[in-house]
């Protein structure tokens, strides 16, 4: 690791100003992904701007939305009474990610910005278009058991590794970004990108912007939601497939369904067709199976990850079963 310069700042404005001064600088918050990547030589910023002292740690209800500051830690959010009561799905998704130690420093903004866990991305001796444009994709015909089945491109089949982001997409979150010209707000489902021809870009954050907060509308899903993460060991592992499921039920009728999947695409994958199908239907395993089937249109395996074509719909069904039962 080069001996980078290190600066501290206490305001979002000065942080942005510092960022713009030096092209090869990066923000550091929790650092749990960035320092890892720097140690592996995947990224080598010359300047780190420590934004941990910028006051963006709020978790509060404002009107009909819950606002969560970009620097709130994953554990602060997961354990917050407001989140547990109103948005348990988010709390569970956070608890399913990483470890207690990592969640204590990893932030909401950092979680959104984390890079893929693809082994080819991490090994600087391997081809990876995401790390080095034009070098090829090692996973396409290589070890792709962990990789995407939706929205892939011939440049990159990596998946976004976050659990939190899957829940945020399911919960209709918005994200607020601060740039030189002030704030802009976008739907969180549009924050991350598909790989397309530019796999080096994970998301739509502009180089001169920072994430300041997410806003999540209140909902009626708290009674019937579940985050189901299928992985190779019981904890502290990235998802093979995960599903965030929330149901608004009246008797056994689905008033609305919220569904998103992780471990299957370059971004958290919202299951819009399944949501539309389930709306107004009875909450039965048959309908869940039909919704799962609809979710799998255009799915494509690359060899070692073909099992996800079966695991993904099964996980959708089981997540819906568990969400229905939860109360």
């Amino acid at each position: 690791m080069i001996n980078f310069q290190y600066l501290r700042t206490t305001s979002a404005k000065s942080a942005l100003a510092l960022l713009q001064k030096d092209k090869n600088s990066k923000f550091i918050a929790g650092g749990t992904n960035l320092i890892d990547l720097m140690k592996r030589g995947v990224t080598a910023p010359e300047k780190l701007i420590d934004i941990n002292h910028v006051p963006l740690k709020q978790i509060e209800l404002i009107g009909t939305k819950i606002h969560i500051g970009a620097l709130a830690t994953n554990s602060a959010v997961a354990d917050h009474a407001l989140i547990k009561e109103k948005l348990p799905l988010l709390s569970w998704a956070l608890q399913a990610g990483a470890s207690a130690q990592l969640r204590n420093v990893a932030t909401v903004g950092g979680n959104m910005m984390q890079r893929t866990r693809c082994g080819y991305f991490y090994d600087t001796e391997m081809p990876c278009n995401k790390r080095e444009a034009g070098s090829g994709c090692g996973a396409l015909e290589g070890f792709n058991r962990m990789h995407a089945i939706f929205g892939t491109s011939d440049k990159c089949i990596a998946v976004h590794p976050s659990d939190m982001c899957v829940a945020l997409v399911a919960l209709d979150a918005e994200v607020v970004l601060l740039g030189p010209k002030g704030e802009r707000k976008i739907l969180f489902k549009d924050f991350h990108r598909l790989a397309g021809d530019t796999p080096q870009l994970d998301n739509n954050l502009k180089p001169d912007e920072m994430i300041v907060r997410v806003e999540i509308p209140l909902n009626n899903l708290a009674k019937h939601s579940y985050y189901l993460k299928v992985r190779d060991r019981a904890s502290y592992a990235f998802a093979l497939v995960s599903v965030a499921a929330g149901l608004e039920l009246e008797d056994n009728k689905i008033l609305s369904a919220h569904l998103a999947m992780g471990g299957v695409a370059h971004k958290p994958w919202r299951l819009t067709k399944a949501e539309e199908f389930l709306k107004g239907k009875e909450a039965t395993e048959e309908n869940f199976a039909q919704a799962a089937k609809l979710s799998m249109e255009n799915a494509k395996g690359f060899g070692e990850n073909n099992f996800k074509l079966k695991l993904a719909p099964n996980t959708i069904i089981e997540a819906l079963n568990l969400a229905k039962r939860k109360a």
């Binding site: 082994g119 001796e125 299928v230 019981a234 099992f307």
Partner: protein, 707 residues
């Protein structure tokens, strides 16, 4: 090791140091002028280094030296012909991806790490193969006999049996990955005096290797290794990276510390190699085995051969007149493997014990009944009686504890919602080894006993066990006994491996304690004291501050007349999720039939640890190579899945606890290996019982269940 504030005589003697951070592992010694080494490793799999540009690295801040084949210091043994080809820095040849090719030494760890990234290497690449399966199928690929073929009775008798099965079983590369990173501190002083702080399972072995490579007198070399943060076999060898660090210290004239990275732990310090095995079993309709054929292929390296006991168990574990085995090693372009806990026997037991279960199913027999029916009265391979074997009792105890009667012979019978429940059993067996060792015992007038031997402790609790042996013989409380180890200047002892430490060193402790006892008795008699007088009084009366005796101990003729093994039976209950393919081990009962248990608390922990290792082997662990590049894809703790706390249920351990005095004077047999051997088969058998799916390729991950 200090032995403080023990509340219970069975507590670990080094517990206080380990829970306070006071236990010092190799990397934690402060030496004046300490420098830091970082390795540069090859990025190709096979070929030659054509250029190595170290200019930028040498110029980088804090850098003291960069050492490679271009400026190798003298290592006389490497200048001779023969031996392993892996003579570090004495060749420009690349044998595997990730091979150390240079070491950068700087005044801080960060500076050395950065400078290492500045070394630029060019290569002439050659074709390579890192895939065992491909090598087996390639008629031109080299294959070597790993062990003489074995035949008893009719070869391949299973083929003509009334009932037969024939299946192939595959294990991937598994890595030891102890929690402590490998490395060494080397301090080469003038007049060729070398002190090292090592991560080794054998201080005498490390001492000998360094003496041999550099051709310096063995007494010039001091090896210290008091605490070792896990070994599992990795520390049974002095690795090239250790020699590289000794060379670096010689070159810079300062102590050099090298701690390798977790990524490097996958490439340069061995592994449990990939194995592809076939087992054929034949039986009569009423369930008597009539033929066992076990053939195995195991990975080895191109520059050094590696063999292990993959097919041993088939030769004696079951009553069967017709048995044949073969074991072939196949060199591939990877770093050489090293025995990993349970070693080849654990690899072999997965295949054999899965096949036994398959045969029981074929026969529609309870697999436990099938095993009992084919339990041998004597060792048919050696044609000798077993020194002790209480397998049938172990079967009974374990079955009762796990609730075996709940098990249904028809797979998939126990279903609750999406979860299917199954039960599995398997046997493990390993040689009850005993070697030769010396122990020095010093009884002091202050009422304490000091025991010293150049053995090691990678975690099983060597000092605790030795203290308990001595405590009972001399009637001294364990907190008055100190056992010193991990120091090459102490009386010689073999490396800690093969489940032999308690048997080997314990016997020498036994002998030395008995000798001390008779010396005290003699002194008492000479000074007209009662023969049963306390040794403190006797020493004081004789105005002696202490008495010391050194004893060498090894086994006698009993070994020629008996077959000596430790046995284990593993019972597991699993729950398998129908939709997601997730397998949870929900109950474990491991029964140890390993003679008298000397140290109950640490013995239990060994069995528990073996079961946890077994869960990893069965369900989660696989080091994955991209054979196009010869590089590992998941070479880190996030992607190579060692079991975590949430993977492990409560574990019941039962010991038969019957002494076997033919093995050694304590009547105790080793346990480190049997704790693991067979466990993975018990899980696979339970998964079959739960689902009807027979998974013959480890690990049993959700994708395989769903396939």
């Amino acid at each position: 090791m200090e032995n403080r504030i023990l509340k219970d005589e069975n507590d670990r003697v080094d517990g206080f140091l380990k829970v306070t951070g006071g236990a010092k592992y190799f990397a934690e010694y402060e030496l004046p002028g300490l420098t830091y080494g970082v390795l540069v490793t090859s990025t190709i799999t096979k070929g030659k280094i054509t250029s190595l540009d170290t200019k930028a690295a040498e110029k980088a801040p804090g850098v003291i030296a960069v050492l490679s084949h271009l400026n190798k210091p003298s290592a006389p043994a490497y200048e001779q012909e023969g031996g392993s080809q892996m003579k570090i820095f004495y060749t420009d040849k690349i044998f595997y991806n990730g091979q150390p090719i240079a070491i950068v030494v700087a005044n801080t760890f960060e500076r050395a790490t950065y400078a290492a990234s500045l070394v630029k290497t060019s290569y002439a690449k050659e074709d390579f193969n890192t895939n065992l399966d491909k090598a087996i199928k390639d008629p031109k690929a080299k294959k070597l006999q790993g062990q003489p073929d074995y035949k008893r009775g009719v070869e391949n008798a299973y083929k003509t049996a009334e009932i037969k099965i024939e299946q192939q079983y595959i294990l991937p590369i598994e890595t030891h990955n102890p929690m402590e990173l490998h490395g060494i501190i080397a301090d080469w002083r003038p007049a060729n005096k070398v002190t090292v702080y090592a991560k080794t399972q054998g201080v005498k072995a490390t001492q000998g290797t360094i003496a041999n490579v550099f051709k310096i007198p063995i007494e010039n070399i001091q090896v210290n290794s008091e605490f070792v943060g896990g070994g599992f076999g990795m520390g049974l060898k002095t690795w090239p990276l250790e020699i590289a660090t000794v060379m670096a210290s010689k070159h810079v004239g300062k102590p050099v510390k090298l701690v390798i990275t977790r990524m490097q732990m996958f490439t340069m310090v061995g592994n449990r190699p990939t194995a592809i095995q076939k087992v054929g079993l034949g039986a009569t309709k009423d369930g008597k085995l009539t033929g066992i054929t076990h053939t195995a292929f195991g990975e080895s390296a191109t520059y050094e051969n590696f063999t292990e006991g993959v097919v041993n168990m088939a030769k004696f574990m079951y009553q069967c007149d017709n048995v044949n085995t073969s074991y072939t090693i196949v060199p591939v372009d990877l770093g050489v493997p090293i025995w990993m806990r349970g070693p080849g026997e654990a690899t072999g037991a997965f295949a054999l014990e899965s096949a036994i279960d398959e045969m029981a199913h074929e026969l529609d027999m309870d697999p436990l009944d099938f095993r009992i029916k084919n339990d041998p009265e004597m060792d048919q391979q050696k044609n000798k009686p077993f020194s002790s074997k209480n397998i049938k009792e172990a079967y009974k105890l374990g079955a009762a504890k796990i609730g075996w009667s709940e098990r249904k012979n028809k797979p998939g019978s126990l279903v609750e919602g999406p979860w299917q429940t199954g039960y599995g059993v398997s046997v493990g067996v390993f040689n009850a080894n005993r070697g030769k060792a010396s122990v020095k015992g010093t009884l002091k007038a202050d009422g304490t006993l000091l025991l010293q031997s150049a053995t090691s402790d990678i975690g099983p609790g060597t000092g605790t066990g030795m203290g308990l042996i001595a405590s009972k013989l001399l009637n001294i409380p364990t907190n008055k006994i100190t056992f010193e180890l991990g120091d090459s200047s102490l009386p010689p002892a073999p490396s800690q491996g093969g489940s032999a430490t308690l048997s080997t060193i314990g016997s020498a402790v036994n002998d030395v304690c008995l000798a001390l006892k008779s010396t005290i008795a003699e002194l008492a008699a000479n000074s007209n004291m009662d023969a049963t007088s306390n040794f403190v009084d006797v020493l004081k009366k004789n105005k002696l501050p202490s008495v010391e005796i050194t004893k060498e101990s090894q086994s006698g003729k009993e070994r020629d007349n008996y077959s000596m093994y430790s046995f284990s039976i593993h019972f597991v209950q699993v729950k398998v999720h129908k939709l997601t393919g997730v397998v949870k081990v929900s109950k474990i009962v491991s029964v140890g039939d390993s003679g008298k248990i000397v140290s109950p608390k640490t013995a239990r922990s060994q069995m528990v640890g073996g079961a946890v290792g077994g869960i990893g082997m069965a369900l989660t662990e696989e080091a994955i190579l991209d054979h196009r590049y010869g590089r590992y894809i998941n070479n880190n703790f996030a992607d190579y899945h060692v079991p975590v706390n949430a993977d492990v249920p409560e574990i019941d351990v039962i010991f038969i606890d019957k002494p076997d005095f033919l093995v050694n004077p304590m009547g105790a047999k080793g346990m480190g290996e049997i704790a693991l051997i067979g466990f993975s088969a018990a899980v696979a058998n339970a998964v079959f019982n739960a689902t009807g799916k027979r998974i013959r390729t480890l690990p049993i991950t959700p994708d395989k269940i769903l396939a």
